[in-house]
Symmetry: C2
Subunit: 157 residues, 2 copies
């Protein structure tokens, strides 16, 4: 087949499933979910709950608002999630004294102790990917750039 300049690759060509990055991205995200699910089962955490604990281990204590900013999640997701973590005895929530609209979240002792057990997770995840650290870092950088671009583009809606 020679090139057909009058009918360059039509839009429909790009509708093929195997051409959609979003699909590959979505599939990779869910594949990660599966691996995390098995790894985190011992800790009694889901993957999003694990992300919340990561932030709390770093920051110690912070309002729900900041937590949402760091994780790109809103209160509709975080409120019930934090209640479950509180019910599990891993975090504590309390209204800020300075600003009673705000709720501060911090890990309990049990939540803090969980960190040492969680410390093994990243290495096992990295091993499951089959990528070396440089590859992972490169991919992460590309994905962050992608997210920034997409978030920027979403503003034009």
């Amino acid at each position: 087949m020679t090139t057909t300049p009058t009918t360059t690759p039509p839009d429909e060509e790009f509708l093929r499933l195997d051409r959609q990055i979003c699909f590959s991205l979505n599939a990779a995200s869910r594949a990660f979910g599966g691996v995390y699910r098995t790894l985190l089962k011992d800790l009694g955490l889901t993957y999003p709950q694990y992300l919340v604990m990561l932030v709390l281990w770093e920051d110690g204590e912070l309002p729900v608002k900041r937590l949402g900013e760091r994780l790109r999640l809103d209160s509709g997701t975080l409120s019930p999630l934090l209640k479950r973590l509180e019910a599990a005895g891993l975090v504590q929530r309390e209204r800020s004294a300075r600003d009673e609209r705000s709720v501060n979240v911090r890990p309990t002792d049990a939540g803090t102790e969980l960190r040492t057990r969680a410390a093994l997770v990243p290495r096992r995840i990295a091993a499951a990917t089959g990528f070396d650290l440089a590859e992972i870092e490169d991919l992460r950088a590309r994905l962050d750039r992608l997210t920034s671009a997409l978030d920027g583009a979403a503003l034009d809606a």
Copy 2:
């Protein structure tokens, strides 16, 4: 700081949120979701529904099982999703005559017509990423490789 061979980077170092590829991946996936949400609103489709239609546009008709294999989704996700697509008049479901356990799904005329309107979506998505086609293709290949590795690693659970 010189190299400290006795205490190489501890596991805890990798617990930092900004070190987790999974988080970048998850964030990128949801950022895509946001862009698709606005783009697909005109078509009356959600993003997963759009993926289903992509497969149906390619294959014309196929059983739920095959649909799930191509999209990496199970019946728990697809059954209600397909019901909604059927209620919207975009697909038709019917029991296979050869094997009554199987249900074949195919686009209705309205579903097929939607394809021409959807043809504009991929280009607009590509534009939103700010990546050129080669970059997208490269990223897609890496992600697919990642998914394969993760799916393979999940089997050891």
